[in-house]
Symmetry: C2
Subunit: 329 residues, 2 copies
């Protein structure tokens, strides 16, 4: 912790580095529960969830955004600023950058800066996958299919394991070596066979949970590949140009659960529907909050196909940041 | 400067306190020129000016927002988060809180944190007043009228003095002692008679520049109080509920210059007009950028009434922050 002096009657600002945050916060049941409480908060009066501030840097092919959330239940509120650019010269992977500013809800003072470079965002995104699986996946899961070869692919597989300890994970990525790398890393943290596969069909067949965690601009997973009774979490789409699930897959599902229906219509899987196509889908579209709170039924029978679309909410950031802050001080 | 270590290949983050920033940045010609360059940048391709992210905390009567701006001319872009709450218990005045995160435009990395508690916002707001006066006020100014008793009232009076060194300032505030305090502080920094007055009419009469710097929800300045040839800068309105100038005053003006016409329609003086009333006003509404660049004429003759409405733009924040950063390192 670095204490930064402040002027006037203001308290010092506590700054925490990514390493300090990683030392005390990881993807586990306590963290996932904190994020679930955040989703429940969306039903409270006094909740504030402003639209995302988004900066698209065309020439640099970079993206920076600010997300914010306020929960009346938590002592602090948060504004997160994060930036993702292409890899630096000489590097193969890009590094995320960014931080969370935590404000005291009673005074508006900056209490802490969590210089996490997107670590908490990765965790809270994975946690939402665990929460979706907990409430929507069939009670018994033998196998999961992971579509994607990045950090979120591994984290989503770990999150699914916490919700439903599976025996087998099949991983597909655009590059087979990336799928292999996910399988290798995953097998060191879960007690399951982790198998890279060459086709999306192989990853999907026989899986009771499928997670898509890609930057795809076109549907990767379609209605022909998905068995009855499967739960699908699509977490890749967070921009109007991204799309992982086919329209027919969403139309054939028994329920489509969005972290935010409004946001999914703008930047998530629901953005691909015309107004009229969406109006026929609408009766089976519900919010994750309402499923968690049992205001609306989720999975009704074993054969249901359930889908969750995660676009990422500021309330997750404030929940994750408050959890981290309490672990840090 | 406090250096905060970062992980991976990222550079350390430089954090600067408000006191450090105050030591090297003040309201002067160089700073004002930097802000003027920022306004010019709004005509460049590659400029990014996302809408404000706004958090309104009803129960706390507080407000927190994030503003961002990217100029292709500057090496860094900025996201500013700032918060204003009512005074703390036992305090008579409220303190602003907040900081600017500066990102490297070529890599997206967080380069610096300017923990300025709104100081740079105050300065860049005043600078816009100076720029408006420079381009729109009559060439000879004997007297200015200041409507408002806060920090911005003093800063706007100082800014006007840099653009047009006047001989006399008349200051009105809701509380006479606040007007007296502004007059006292102002007289220590400008060579002019600084006189608190009891009515808005007295502050307006005989002034060639009038600045409104209040939180008023209803018009304070109307068409009957303003002499021919006056330049008015209205900088108080930055929310749909705020309003300083009467509709008729705006309708009678020869030109209405907005820092952002779109933003002024939402949260500034232009927000009070219906669509049809605004459509008749529209031909004389121009952007400050176009006036600075002489794409559109500003004041045409000595008798013109000119009005500038300032709502505050992210490009001012990035200009101010880059200027400060270069002075700090």
């Amino acid at each position: 912790m670095i204490l930064i002096p402040n002027s006037g009657t203001r308290k010092e600002i506590k700054a925490f580095t990514e390493d300090e945050i990683r030392n005390v916060v990881s993807l586990n049941v306590d963290f996932i529960d904190a994020i679930e409480e955040g989703f429940k908060d969306l039903s409270l009066p006094g909740i504030v969830t402003p639209p995302i501030l988004q900066i698209l840097l065309e020439k640099q092919e970079g993206q920076t955004c600010a997300k914010a959330g306020v929960s009346p239940r938590l002592p602090f509120y948060a504004i997160k600023v994060s930036s993702i650019f292409p890899p630096l010269k000489g590097e193969s992977k890009s590094e995320a950058n960014g931080l969370v500013a935590l404000f005291d809800l009673s005074t508006g003072q900056v209490t802490a800066l969590l210089l996490d470079n997107g670590y908490l965002t990765q965790l809270r995104t994975a946690a939402a996958g665990a929460i979706a699986a907990k409430h929507l996946a069939p009670s018994h899961v033998d196998q999961i299919g992971i579509i994607g070869g990045g950090k979120q692919a591994i984290l989503q597989a770990r999150a699914a394991y916490i919700a439903r300890p599976y025996k087998r994970a099949k991983i597909w990525a655009r590059r087979f070596d990336a799928a292999q790398a996910v399988a290798d890393e995953l097998s060191s943290v879960v007690e399951a066979a982790c198998i890279p596969v060459a086709t999306i069909a192989e990853a999907a067949a026989g899986s009771q949970i499928i997670v898509t965690a890609t930057k795809s601009a076109k549907p990767l997973l379609n209605e022909c590949l998905v068995d009855e009774g499967t739960h699908i979490t699509a977490m890749g789409s967070d921009a109007p140009s991204k799309n992982e699930l086919s329209q027919a897959l969403l139309q054939n599902a028994n329920i489509v659960v969005a972290d935010s229906v409004e946001q999914s219509r703008t930047i998530g899987e629901l953005a691909q529907f015309s107004v009229s196509a969406f109006s026929s889908l609408r009766p089976k579209v519900v919010s994750l909050t309402n499923v968690i709170l049992k205001n609306q039924p989720g999975r009704i029978c074993d054969n249901d196909i359930t889908i969750t679309d995660l676009t990422g909410l500021g309330i997750q950031d404030v929940s994750a940041s408050c959890f981290a802050y309490q672990a840090l001080v």
